[in-house]
């Protein structure tokens, strides 16, 4: 199998990368009609598989689960998940031949073997659906010509997909049709009905392409979303302890700090996040982030280049073939970092304090978001996609660190994201070694002293203008506006 993206001419590569459109709610007027009465068979009953299935069934659709015989015989967790929730469970042979739509919700790593096993069993003209396009784009899986191939990717963990549906809402969702596999031209109608069935249409749907989804998703998760937060956590913690700050306090400031500062990001972008700082602190954070961007830009470029040309997926698949040797080694190393091993102290930290004493963390988030966004758009990914895969998802990932530190983050994200995160971290920690030597507790741990409170007016205006005129802020304002229209919490 060859990397699908690399088989396309540049013209088509650029065209596919640039696909991303925020759909109007009127486009979902047909509801779940296109899937009504059709047999939907889900493969895999993990967090995405189970929760999407629950939503689809509650929307009036016919959902069952196909599991491997050993999962059924040994009554594994996936079998328990499906049966305790009252779903019909069967083997591939039992269920796939009757399916109108097969939902492949297994981890990336299993896609090739799953699809190879399923495809011969699928009936003529059925639909195969993915929640992530890695298998098609990076592994170049060829799907039978008569089958329709779509993607419906809720941009949240499975538990959120369910929780928001139950509330009467949904999570933002990306849909795509694999144009090489749309023989009857019904791919879009099916993808839209699927998005309605999971509640995604209430929160906003982006019409994208398999390629744009994969290339932007990989870039976002490796760099700003997971990699930057992991590197930032480790460096900030070690620096604070080195400077004599109580380890319990340092641990807490970081564990909950990402969540608190990125909450401001969620509401009003990078500008609002920095506006939460005092004027001198804002200028400090801005200067630090400019410095960080210069140092880290080559690393972001390398990640994006490796993703675009397929190096990243090739190297990762080599690790898959090598029984995940690197992934497992890096996972164990992460568990041994001082930050991970030091429990959060029993100290009260106010919401504002996370900003005031976490100036460097704010600078890291800003640098990471802007770099990821700039690098993605420079590679031909449209601004909307780049926004979702950088700024938009950062608070979601930060929440997982607040729950149980890096362990929780890496357990929640996909293996692919986890692998990319470690890759980034390994390069970024040494890259920032010199930079960190000059860092003191005024920007991480203690905050600026009262005597540092003067600012130069001209400089402040310059900084404010630079913040507000960054392209991620322009597209963010528009997309957050769409979201607010939909999620009207007036």
């Amino acid at each position: 199998m060859a990397n699908y993206f690399n088989t396309l001419p540049l013209r088509e590569q650029l065209e596919q990368l640039a696909k991303c459109r925020f759909m109007d709610s009127s486009e979902f007027a047909d509801g779940v009609e296109a899937l009504k009465g059709k047999k939907m068979v889900v493969i895999g009953c993990g967090a995405q598989g189970l929760n999407q299935g629950l939503n689809l069934r509650d929307s009036g659709l016919d959902v069952s689960y196909a599991l491997r015989p050993e999962a059924i015989e040994q009554k594994r967790q996936s079998w328990k998940n499906a049966t305790e929730n009252g779903f019909t469970v069967g083997t591939y042979e039992d269920l796939i031949p009757t399916a109108d739509v097969v939902l492949n919700l297994t981890p990336d790593k299993q896609h090739t073997s799953v699809v190879k096993a399923v495809m011969p069993l699928m009936k003529e003209g059925a639909c195969l659906s993915y929640s992530h396009g890695f298998n098609i784009v990076e592994e170049g899986m060829q799907i039978r010509d008569d089958l329709t191939v779509i993607m419906v990717a809720p941009k949240c963990p499975g538990s959120e997909v369910r929780a928001e549906y139950v509330r009467g809402f949904g999570v933002p969702t990306l849909i795509a049709v694999h144009e090489d596999n749309d023989p009857k031209g019904e791919g879009l109608a099916l993808a839209k009905a699927y998005a309605v069935g999971t509640g995604g249409h209430k929160a906003g749907v982006l019409m994208s392409s398999f390629i744009a989804e994969v290339k932007s998703d990989l870039m976002g998760e490796q760099t700003i979303l997971c990699g930057m937060l992991q590197t930032g956590s480790i460096l900030c913690f070690d620096k604070m302890v080195e400077e004599g700050i109580d380890p319990g306090y340092a641990s807490k400031l970081i564990q909950y700090g990402w969540e608190n500062i990125t909450e401001a990001l969620k509401y009003g972008g990078v500008t609002n996040m920095l506006d939460r700082l005092s004027n001198p602190a804002k200028i400090k954070a801005f200067d630090l982030s400019e410095e960080l961007k210069v140092i880290m830009r080559p690393l972001y470029n390398k990640h994006q280049d490796d993703i675009i040309d397929g190096t990243f997926s090739r190297v990762m698949m080599e690790d898959w073939a090598n029984d995940d040797a690197n992934l497992l080694k890096w996972r164990a190393e992460t568990a041994e970092t001082n930050f991970e091993k030091t429990p959060a102290g029993d100290v009260e930290i106010s919401e504002q304090e996370f900003f005031d004493k976490g100036i460097l963390m704010v600078a890291m988030v800003k640098a990471g978001v802007e770099l990821a966004f700039e690098t993605m758009t420079a590679a031909g990914i449209i601004a909307e996609s780049a926004y979702y895969e950088s700024l938009h998802e950062t608070p979601l990932i930060a929440n997982t660190i607040a729950r149980k530190k890096l362990y929780e983050m890496n357990a929640t994200i996909s293996d692919t994201a986890e692998y990319g995160c470690y890759l980034y971290n390994h390069a970024c920690v040494p890259l920032l070694a010199d930079f960190m030597k000059d860092i003191k507790t005024d920007v991480i741990g203690k905050g600026l002293s009262d005597t540092d409170n003067g600012v130069d007016n001209a400089r402040l205006i310059e900084v404010n203008t630079a913040l507000r005129s960054h392209p991620v802020e322009a597209v963010g304002a528009v997309l957050r506006g769409h979201m607010a229209d939909m999620k009207k919490i007036v």
Binding site: V32, K36, G37, L54, R57, D58, S59, G60, L61, D62, K80, E84, N85, G86, F87, V166, R167, G168, F169, K202, M486, K487, K488, I489, V490
Partner: protein
């Protein structure tokens, strides 16, 4: 008044027409109380007890001072009747003029100087020579007030003193009362909170226990802001003429076949692995027949409810007929939920989104937690009407999560009822609430049950906690 007045377990009989039950109450010399409560709860009766009215059949009343000034409609009526009797009793063939006002006020007066001043202030000067019984109701009232105020009372009891007074007189009286608070403890009977003078320190609240019996249920220190505002709300809910707002005509719930049951569970079973929580339950809820469901923790009450609401995944493996749908035939849960209003503690915990109080009510039209659609003007209007009914109009735009636990519960009940669902499920609606908030919630539920078409399913831990109007009971037992 030097020492406190104490009522301990006092039961009072008023000519076998009315009773007060088990009153426990202490009035310290420095305190000024308002007695309030619902109609027929015995507010005036309790005030009269302090003036020596009624037979104390049980308990002890101590510390009552010698000079008690009482102004009430009953005392007023009694005085007038006495005057009229004098006329009847007159054996001489002379036309009796009755006792003149002058004599009524000054004959037995402890403080004539003050009395003169008050006669002036109440505008009674030109009436001094007139016979008391010839006065208008308002004028006799003023005479009684002057008598009471100038009697140097050690305790002053005023039952609805502000009723029927013109604005100027009202202001004058209020001002006078405020000037004597250091020397004279007061007990005022008031039907409305907004008439309460600033110097009042405590409020006593009475409830009707039965048609001829009242009881003192709450005593609130005015400093306790939250209790004070809850009491205000309770009185409002109990006495308001406002009715449950109508549903939104633009969001009609589809009509149901009146001959079909709302809910029919056949051999309903819930199990997790090998653990059976609900075992072959058969249950039919017919329209208009209210039910109470009870059972201990772990008996599967919530499980059974979630089979009905569609929140339990095993509703797809059971034989469930709800609102015209046989479950598992392509209906969505939103088609089911539109027929149900639902309140539970779990819902309150889940309702964590940041929403205004008004939108919490409106979200009931959409069966959503939080608001994700634009509401119509009419829905906003209906929500305002609900807030008015709850006595919470001032909190319309406040964030829901900043409200007290009890107020949140009231709003969630309004949310459940806003669309007038065919079935209203109240899953332990008073759980976790203190007594005052329990009263508030029950008052609202009673209000809702008055003449609405909704069938109520009331779920309670204790089978003995009953709501009027519910006649069918289902008690679940704990399995295994």
């Amino acid at each position: 008044m030097d020492s406190a007045i104490r009522l301990e377990n006092v039961c009072v009989n008023f000519d076998e027409r009315f009773y007060l039950n088990q009153i426990n109450w202490t009035i310290e010399p420095s305190q000024h109380w308002v007695i309030t409560g619902t109609n027929g709860s015995g507010k005036s009766a309790l005030a009269a007890v302090l003036a020596g009215v009624g037979d104390i059949e049980q308990g002890t009343l101590t510390g009552l001072p010698g000079r008690v000034g009482l102004v009430s409609f009953e005392a007023q009526a009694e005085l007038i009747a006495k005057e009229l009797k004098k006329d009847d009793a007159d054996i001489m063939d002379v036309i009796s003029v009755g006792t003149p006002v002058q004599e009524m006020i000054f004959s037995d007066c402890a403080d004539p100087e003050l009395a003169s001043e008050l006669v002036e202030k109440f505008g009674l000067s030109h009436l001094l020579d007139r016979a008391f019984r010839k006065l208008s109701t308002g004028e006799t009232r003023k005479v009684m007030l002057v008598r009471a105020l100038s009697s140097k009372p050690e305790l002053l009891i005023l039952d609805e003193p502000f009723d029927g007074l013109d604005v100027d007189t009202l202001a004058m009286l209020q001002q006078h009362l405020a000037s004597i608070i250091e020397t004279t403890p007061m007990v005022l009977v008031l039907n409305r909170f907004d008439e309460m003078p600033d110097f009042i320190t405590h409020v006593a609240y009475l409830e009707k226990a039965s048609d001829d019996c009242g009881q003192l249920t709450f005593k609130v220190d005015r400093q306790d802001n939250s209790a004070f505002s809850e009491l205000y709300q309770l009185l409002h809910l109990k006495t308001t003429d406002l009715q449950v707002p109508k549903p939104d005509p633009a969001a009609q719930i589809p009509a149901l076949d009146a001959n079909q049951p709302l809910v029919k569970l056949t051999n309903a079973t819930i199990k997790y692995g090998d653990t059976v929580i609900v075992d072959n339950l058969n249950w039919t809820i017919e329209p208009g027949k209210h039910w109470q469901l009870s059972g201990p923790n772990g008996s599967g009450k919530t499980g059974v409810l979630s089979l009905i609401t569609g929140d339990h995944p095993q509703c797809y493996t059971n034989d469930i007929f709800v609102f015209g749908f046989q479950r598992g035939n392509g209906e969505s849960i939103w088609q089911i939920k539109q027929f149900i209003g639902y309140v539970s503690t779990a819902l309150q915990w889940e309702y964590r989104v940041s929403v205004s109080c008004k939108n919490v009510i409106i979200s009931g039209f959409y069966d959503s937690i939080g608001m994700y659609s634009k509401s119509t003007d009419n829905q906003k209007k209906i929500a305002d009407e609900w807030l008015a009914l709850l006595g919470m109009s001032d909190r319309a735009d406040q964030p829901f999560n900043k409200l007290s636990y009890g107020d949140q519960r009231l709003l969630l009940i309004a949310r459940a009822m806003v669309k007038h669902p065919p079935l209203l499920i109240l899953d332990e609606p008073c759980l976790g609430l203190d007594d005052m908030n329990r009263q508030l919630v029950l008052a609202l539920i009673e209000k809702i049950c008055e003449g609405n078409e909704t069938t109520v399913l009331y779920v309670n831990h204790h089978a003995e906690d009953k709501i009027a109007g519910i006649e069918q009971y289902l008690a679940l037992e704990k399995n295994g």
